[in-house]
Subunit: 225 residues, 2 copies
């Protein structure tokens, strides 16, 4: 029996970030469904795991954690000896390698996440949920994301991946929002029209780990490896 | 001569986060002024250090980094043997301690930072800069922050600090926005009217490290310890 349990649906970007990390690290896990349409993420027993009422929650033996990027860092440290060894930097790479990853992971968290998730929400989800779109917010988010991607384009002209020569948590953390942006909105050109960002996206989105997550999302149901 | 240089003004919340961390860890540093009113953060030589054109940038010998929370993690790891030993968890505390800190640091980054900084921008800075306030955004941010603080109130009823019994990077990371929220807006009651959040704020804002940062902010000029 797997000691690791992830609570939440793979369709959630934060849940899929954690799933991709577990698959990269060859960590066995179980998925525990949380039906958000029934408000299960606000139920008292779930709030004990995740007091903000958000997904995912995460359990590994006696440790419970929330916040997808904190969970990913934990998985990399706890399971340092298995799976992808360079996801959060190799021991030989030292502090420079580790903190190159950390700074680009923070760039995703602070600069990329907000405008990209707003575009996905406004362009892909709002119409399906019968919510009104906010054209000013869409325009503002597209402009913000464009500026961020101009910096990425420059970085990726010099470097195969964001933190250096290897695929790391910094790249992985961009997968969930970018998947929806490219495939579920009409603004995928923000990514694919930029030479180096497009080349990077082509490479990272084809990783076995991420393709498995996308399959799980399509199935809409738990299908751990 | 200090090997560490921080580029940016102490009045910036992201710069002051890094300064507080350096002071907690007893790391000597130099401040290198960046006059944002003159656009120095968009100058080509600064963009080499910080490609997004934001402050702070950071240099330690041959390593340059950006993103305040990544820089703080780096400082804690690099200078693990000096200053506050529990800022990012003690070795004896193991993964549970470290990742309790990481999850609350991410809560600050993902849930607390956006509504608190929006309130500071709208209520304290917009009037001084002659910008129009957005009442709907203020109301929305206050409601968001209130919900986050309700979770903090519950957590701090059980625990002296966010991650456990010790002051850590998770608490420290809240200082910059909260300082302005309490002292430069009329919504400080969001913090001070909550019994446990108020008690926590009283304690963390009185730390020597933070009081030195506030002095540096008041002086408006570099004054490293």
């Amino acid at each position: 029996m797997a000691s690791v349990t992830v609570f939440g649906p793979p369709l959630s970007t934060a849940v899929s970030r954690v799933l991709a990390c577990l698959l990269e690290k060859d960590v066995e896990f179980e998925l525990s469904p949380v039906d958000m349409s029934k408000g299960q993420h606000k139920a008292p027993e779930f709030l004990k795991l995740q007091p903000f009422g958000q997904v995912p929650a995460f359990r590994d033996g006696g440790i419970t954690l929330f916040e997808s990027r904190a969970i990913c860092r934990y998985i990399c440290d706890k399971y340092s000896d298995q799976g992808n060894a360079s996801l959060i930097g190799t021991r030989e790479g030292g502090l420079l390698e580790r903190y190159s990853i950390e700074q680009w992971l923070e760039a995703e968290s602070q600069s990329y996440n907000s405008p990209s998730s707003t575009l996905v929400l406004q362009l892909a989800l709002a119409p399906r949920m019968g919510l009104k779109q906010d054209p000013a917010l869409i325009e503002q988010s597209e402009a913000k994301l464009s500026k961020v991607l101009d910096v990425y384009e420059q970085r990726l002209a010099e470097s195969r991946f964001l933190a250096g020569d290897e695929f790391t948590l910094a790249d992985l953390s961009h997968l969930p929002n970018t998947q929806y942006l490219v495939n579920a909105t009409d603004r995928g050109g923000l990514i694919t029209s930029r030479e180096n960002v497009g080349r990077w996206w082509e490479e990272i989105s084809k990783r076995d780990s991420w393709m498995k997550v996308v399959e799980m999302q399509k199935a809409g149901a738990p299908q751990p490896s």
